[in-house]
């Protein structure tokens, strides 16, 4: 919930409209959605780039680094990898 100041402290509202600003993590650290986490075996990876282009969250970089802050654990990368270099593992949450 956003913080709200008391009425007497408010300045003139002015121009407020539904304009949003582009930002990573626009809905927060979506990594918290995960149940399973993808783990990459770099030795098996031949940088075919399929996981990069298929990731619906754009959280695998072109040099195949997974951003775990945002990875939702959908499993597409593991499913599509032709070398089975990515494995989905049940994530232990602390």
């Amino acid at each position: 919930m956003p913080k709200r100041r008391k009425k007497e402290e408010e300045e003139e509202i002015g121009f407020v409209t539904t304009l949003s600003v582009p930002s990573e993590g626009s809905v927060g650290l979506t990594g918290s959605w995960r149940v399973f986490i993808p783990v990459l075996d770099e030795e098996k990876c031949n940088k075919c780039l399929l996981c990069w282009i298929y990731c619906p969250e754009a959280c695998i970089s072109k040099d195949i680094k997974i951003n775990y802050d945002y990875c939702k654990g959908c499993g597409i990368c593991a499913e599509e990898c032709p070398r089975k270099a990515v494995t989905m593992i049940k994530e232990e949450k602390g």
Binding site: S26, V27, L49, Y54, C74, I76
Partner: protein, 320 residues
Amino acid sequence: MRLRDFPEDEVFLQGSAACQGCPGSAAIRVAFKALGRNTILAVIASCTSVFQSPFPLSALDVPTINMAFATGGAVASGITAAADRLVAQGVFDEKPTILAWAGDGGTYDIGIQALSGAAERNTDFIYVCYNNEAYSNTGTQRSGATPYAAWTTNTTKGKEEWRKDIAQIMIAHGVPYVATASLAYPTDMFRKFAKAKEIRGTRYIEIQAPCPPGWKFPSSYTIKIARMAVQTGMWMLYEYEEGKTTYTAGTKRIIQGQSKLKPVEEYLKEQGRFRHLFYPERDEETIKEIQDRMTHIFENLQFTHKMKEHIMEIELAPPH
């Protein structure tokens, strides 16, 4: 065009409100890799309206206007006319790409009027329908794009009608470019977007978007289902320009005999929305109906293709 040549720049910013395995965000990523940042985006009421995340942050890093459901072709008409004025005024050196992005609801049904009007005027914009074959954003109700026999919340015994084909309707409008695309064939999709970018007038691209919660399959299968749709003929890849339709990628390979048309059952069985065709008992009649239609379509296409080759052979044979 190979994957390694795809630009690294992301217009779609990670950490969005999209579902796990969302085909919509996957599609918009590939589209923008081909179109680039010199693009004005109009998002029509759909899942995309939601997965770009709520006020005040956005997962889309291009100028974006969200618009009401029935307005796709119309809002783009206004944007593109204004862009022409801005070119005339000297504000733009190069006119940006105007992109309207809608789901099957906003394209097939409530949005068809505005799309048809814009196409009839040969409005200069690209219209993308990312088609998850239902009104997913409102919880998976049937749309004109929902396939025959599919479960939705308001066709609980399976849809009784075959789907409309808007890509064919767009071809009937005689617009400069119409294409279908699939998430499982990204280089084909990229090529089509890159081609569309260079054409002027109304360009229509429809991307099949398998939806994990709506079609009821695990979120890791989105690309796999998209691939199976093409391999079984349930989604066909082609492009139309200057009066000619050319089949591409996986569809082309089937028609030309390099791949075999897979049985539709393999595709249907993976999706919960077709579960009633298999449990509690097989609905042999419906499965056969769907299979027969696929077989018929492809036999015709394969025959036509062979005939063309045959004619070529006769023509090339030296007189003797």
